[in-house]
């Protein structure tokens, strides 16, 4: 997928109107991301209310215990539905490459902000790719186990042992997903400019050069190729 081929917003990815800023996420991608994010927050809060007695008070946010129980599975489905098109958009750019494994092996340099020592990164770094796969796996697990423990409609079709282990799997997938998202949110706070990328859509050239150099190179090469040459 080329950043320069998709509509006008993409075409002027590196145009001077944006003072050299580069389009990282289109309006569609940003909308989609925040739909997933909102559904996640609601699903996590309502799920946590049912997970630990200390958090049962969160059910008040959803109109009490029964309403939390009624709404939670539908919110979960909404998250899944919102994530599907997002996964189709970004899935192909999250394939692990040899340089990603090298990047992961140098995790010390990653957490100590020594990016100059790391291999070049494409549109997504290995950490972001792992977040992507964790979300895909967890949502799959949550869907399958969630159907089995959805008492109002489906539990009756499953033997007790499946419902019991389904509940364990559901809690485990939710735990991994919540921790993954905590890491994801922290990474956005840590790497300055990331939040702007997902709220305003654009990043500075310096940001792209520092954090996603291979992607920056790709975009600049395309921009240069598509521009009419003076000679």
């Amino acid at each position: 997928m080329s950043d320069l081929e998709l509509g006008p917003e993409r075409r002027d990815a590196a145009s001077p109107e944006h003072r050299g800023m580069i389009l990282r996420y289109t309006a569609g991608e940003r909308t989609n991301h925040w739909m997933v994010a909102m559904a996640f927050v609601l699903a996590a809060l309502s799920g946590l209310a049912l997970f630990h007695p200390a958090l049962f008070g969160l059910s008040g946010l959803f109109g009490g215990g029964p309403w939390t129980r009624i709404l939670h599975p539908f919110i979960g489905l909404a998250m899944l539905l919102a994530f599907l098109p997002f996964a189709l958009r970004v899935g192909s750019e999250n394939r692990m490459q040899p340089r990603d494994w090298a990047w992961l092996r140098q995790y010390r340099d990653v957490v100590m902000n020594r990016e100059d020592r790391l291999p070049e990164v494409g549109r997504y770094n290995a950490g972001q790719k792992l977040v992507f796969y964790a979300i895909v796996l967890c949502l799959t697990g949550l869907l399958l186990s969630g159907v089995a423990i959805w008492r109002a409609y489906f539990s009756i079709y499953f033997p007790a042992v499946v419902v019991r282990w389904g509940a364990v799997l559901h809690a485990l997938c939710a735990l991994v997903l919540i921790c993954t998202i905590i890491v994801h949110i922290y990474a956005a706070i840590w790497v300055k400019g990331s939040v702007e990328a997902m709220t305003r859509g654009r990043v500075t050239r310096g940001w792209a050069w520092k954090h996603h150099r291979a992607w920056f190179r790709e975009i600049m090469t395309r921009a240069a190729n598509s521009r009419p040459r003076p000679d």
Binding site: H52, A160, V163, L175, W190
Partner: protein, 304 residues
Amino acid sequence: MALQSLDIVRRSATTSRSPQIREPSGGREVAKLIDTTKCIGCKACQVACMEWNDLRDEIGTNIGQYQNPADLSANTWTLMRFAEVENSKGDLEWLIRKDGCMHCADPGCLKACPSPGAIVQYANGIVDFQEENCIGCGYCIAGCPFDIPRISKKDKKVYKCTLCSDRVAVGLEPACIKACPTGALVFGTKDDMKQHAAERIEDLKSRGFEQAGLYDPAGVGGTHVMYVLHHADQPHNYVDLPADPRISRAVLLWKGFSKPLGLAVMALTALAGFFHYIRVGPDETDASDEAAAHELAKRLEKAP
């Protein structure tokens, strides 16, 4: 079915202690003893349960057995289950078991319930659902080793035998006990019931039922509904009475240490992020990065 006149010792989804200061003199553990060897399958207990608790189940269809209705439901809290079993001598035995909540000392339903106070255990051992706190998730159904709680289609709340906690609270015996014409059902303190059962078992053994015994399964800490069985070595013959009921390992894992551990893992993940920020700080881009980016861009423009 809330009853303030009974002392609550355990409450679902509650990590703090229940009020403990009272030491009720009548707080000794009670039990219902079901003597399957005296039961004639008349279903008076079923009728009494319906009457006292104002329950009317839907009229079902004949399933080719005396058992009616076909299964426990939100409106049927006790049910005579009929088994036709051929014994080793080739004789037919008609084994009848009054099914319903066993009122476990260690109740799987209470352990699984996420709603504070929706399931309680009284000092006398009765496990009671308090439907006004029930959120209808059905976790208790997964938690129960005896497959007892049933969710109502009408109100999405879960129901089961209360052991007539309302009657017991005012010194009456449960309605089913009152109705039993043969004395197959008896009610009293758990100790008395055990003693009574021991006498019955001795009698049964003298009549040739060598495997007669008491069903008070230790896997759930004992129960407050016990059976005298003619064949205590074959509980499964009594329509799948489990030989060694236990709370499933899945439920213990899900509702045991995984709950605090899960919260701790989430909190530690967030704390790790916070202290990373405090110690290492943000990853920012500065003018030198912008300059380097412009240089690279210029180079790419010249020699694509």
